[in-house]
Amino acid sequence: MAWKVVDRNEAIVEAEGPALLSDAVREKIRSFFDRYETKRAALLPALHIVQDTLGHIPHQGMMEIAGLLEIHPSDVIDTVSFYTHFWTHPKGKKIITVCRSVSCEVMGGEAVLNEFKKQLGIGEHETTPDGKYSLVTEECLANCDHAPCVLINEKRHEGVKPENVAAILADPNNDRVTMERSTLFDAPGDSKARDSAQ
């Protein structure tokens, strides 16, 4: 055909070979089935677990989740693509999320974002060549009283100014969450061991 058409008859295969999801991951997803009336309802926990395990949710992962939940893969990609939280391609080890909603914007959020871009040498939705950081913007992080707000993975950085950016990036524990956090949706295994390995 004369014009450009995206071909959806072809599968996207990221990795040839055996199943992506380990038995432990499958087991953890199955452990949510009892909580709900339908297996389909375990979709969000499943997506969190898979993303925490693989770093993102590739098409193969969506197919395997669909198989486990006995739903069509289109129902999985529907949900995955709705939430910006879920990634369909590899991201850096740490995600820096700069708030771009009103409060942060008026308090200088854009300057903070530009500083991150400058220091990391990447643009929005990009990942540093060493795979350490990905940079994204997001709508209100529900922390307007401490605008401008930045998240590094799950750790909140409040009242960030451009001049703080270097120090934040230099801190190896810049994503260490000090308050109690739920491990409900974490990859199976010892999450503490995972933290100290970083």
Partner: protein, 540 residues
């Protein structure tokens, strides 16, 4: 029946329907995209919003509700008062249309849907000539989402009818809504294309030009097409269809609403099963074999030739050596005329049933459904009129044969004169049947394509495809359903109904309704045919 008041006019309506449906049935032209009577209500397009009178929560005085409410999601209640004819309602539609057109490419000149597009229709009524949009339009891609269907995402109004169809009717779930907000798009999972036996219906219910049938793409502008009401001959179910044609060529088949059989849907097998009609291998002239000589008799001479030849056989070989094999692809009227002729010249003639084609198993939808949950069925019996032919053979009485018995007895030389009707879209003469011809002294074969029997026939009569004929089929549940003719047969071919009418000794033009009147004198079933209630004029 509840009575409701719309725009100061009181109407009576069916119980349990929505105000939108009631208004459409009473003739109002209410804009709507997401609502479809065959699908779950989502009330997402906001086009059908109306004003409604409700008791004030404090004073219980009936007052106009402060907010507009979706008519598609509001069930009718006795005494309800609503209005569409108001500035607030019109303002709402206007604003909705502005949003629907925000990123629309306005490519009507090259869009297949142009002329039957509800984005065009509603824009014409409620839209603005100028767009106030100052930003760049978002460009969404065209997607090849399956072997038969294209998706033009940039024309989509996100009504989600197509998604709900794959969830609720086909049960195959291929379609989904990806991304969020302005970036929403209909999509399939890569590598899991839209490919199920009912997929063509998503093109029909798409209110705009977003889902497009590759088979019809760029073939014709829709306003050039004419339509005939017909019945799908693809299986014994007998779905109501519309044949869209132009210049003697069929371009597409579309479903017609029939609450007793197919609702709003048809299957792909039926939808695309008409291609054989325009196959150039068709038989296009009658042929008379005299020894080794082949001639083309004039149509006017045929009734006499045929009558003479059969009577000659009667004199020569006795009254019980004549047989007629009727086809489940014949219309009831045609079969009745042939029986009338045969039993007139040979009152003891045997009547046989042609082969009843079958393929696979019955298929029920949504996939996996049974009992009351079934919304659509494709039958394995792949011919439209077995029940009708059985009914007529039964009513004629006398000697009757199954196809197997017919072949067996013919092969044994039990008959000297026979009339065999085919008309099957695919090869139907099996090995055994192919060998019976030499046993006949007179063999008339009426068929659409050449085969082993036509090759050996004394007289070949060309048969027409169902879109070239008119009559009725009796479906698997016993409904007698009429079909109109859409196009003319190929040059040189006379309609089966017409020549059978003349051969049966009747004068004038063959009209199916007229023949049914004659049939009704002896077969009471043909007193009336089944007609479905029409769809409201402005429903879609």
């Amino acid at each position: 029946m509840p009575k409701i008041t719309i725009d100061n006019r009181e109407i009576e309506c069916r119980k349990g329907i929505s105000v939108l449906q009631a208004a459409l049935e009473a003739g109002w032209n209410i804009p709507h995209y997401c609502a479809h009577p065959g699908l779950r209500v989502v009330a997402s397009c906001r086009l059908c919003l109306m004003e409604m009178r409700m008791p004030d929560p404090k004073t219980q005085e009936p007052t106009w509700s402060p907010k507009l409410v979706p008519a598609c999601q509001t069930p009718v209640r006795d005494g309800q008062v609503v209005r569409f004819d108001s500035d607030r309602v019109r303002q709402n539609v206007k604003r909705c249309m502005e949003f629907f057109l925000l990123d629309h490419p306005l490519d009507c000149p090259v869009c297949d849907q142009a002329g039957e597009c509800h984005l065009q229709d509603y824009s014409y009524r409620f839209g603005e000539a100028e767009s106030r949009m100052v930003d760049e339009k978002l460009e969404k891609p065209k997607k090849d989402i399956g072997p038969r269907t294209l998706l033009y995402s940039d024309r989509c109004v996100l009504c989600t009818r197509c998604i709900r169809f794959t969830q609720e009717i086909s049960g195959t779930h291929e379609l989904c809504l990806v991304n969020r907000g302005t970036r929403n798009e209909i999509d399939v999972f890569p590598g899991k294309p839209l490919d199920n036996p009912l997929q063509g219906n998503v093109v029909d219910i798409c209110p705009v030009g977003s889902l497009i049938d590759k088979d019809f793409l760029f073939k014709r502008r829709v306003w050039e097409l004419e339509s005939a009401s017909s019945i799908c001959p693809g299986c014994a179910r007998g779905c109501f269809i519309r044949v869209d044609h132009c210049d003697g060529t069929v371009y597409r088949l579309k479903p017609r609403y029939n609450p007793k059989v197919n609702d709003w849907w048809i299957c792909d097998e039926g939808r695309f099963g008409w291609k054989y009609v325009h196959d150039d291998k068709r038989i296009t002239a009658p042929v008379l074999h005299r020894g080794h000589e082949k001639t083309t008799p004039k149509w006017e001479e045929l009734p006499e030739i045929l009558r003479y030849r059969f009577e000659e056989q009667m004199r020569k070989n006795g009254p019980d050596k004549v047989v007629a094999m009727l086809s489940p692809f014949m219309a009831c009227e045609e079969a009745w005329l042939l029986i009338k002729f045969i039993r007139e010249v040979a009152p003891q003639a045997a009547l046989a049933m042609g082969p009843v084609s079958e393929d696979g198993e019955n298929q029920h939808f949504p996939v996996g459904a049974s009992g009351d949950a079934v919304r659509f069925t494709i039958l394995k019996e792949k011919c439209p009129n077995r029940r009708g032919i059985e009914l007529l053979i039964g009513a004629a009485g006398g000697k009757t044969l199954s196809f197997e018995e017919f072949v067996e007895k013919s092969a044994a030389g039990d008959f000297s004169a026979g009339w065999v009707v085919g008309g099957y879209p695919a090869e139907w003469v099996d090995k055994a049947a192919g060998k019976i011809a030499p046993k006949f002294e007179l063999l008339v074969v009426q068929d659409i394509f050449p085969n082993a029997l036509t090759d050996a026939a004394t007289i070949i009569l060309p048969s027409c495809a169902w879109v070239e004929r008119e009559g009725s089929f009796v479906n698997s549940t016993g409904l007698i359903q009429p079909f109109e003719r859409a196009i003319s047969p190929p040059e040189g071919v006379k309609r089966d109904g017409q020549y059978l009418y003349e051969i049966a000794g009747l004068d004038g033009l063959y009209r199916a309704g007229r023949v049914r009147e004659l049939m009704n004198a002896t077969i009471e079933e043909f007193a009336a045919v089944f007609e479905a209630p029409p769809m409201p004029a402005h429903a879609h």
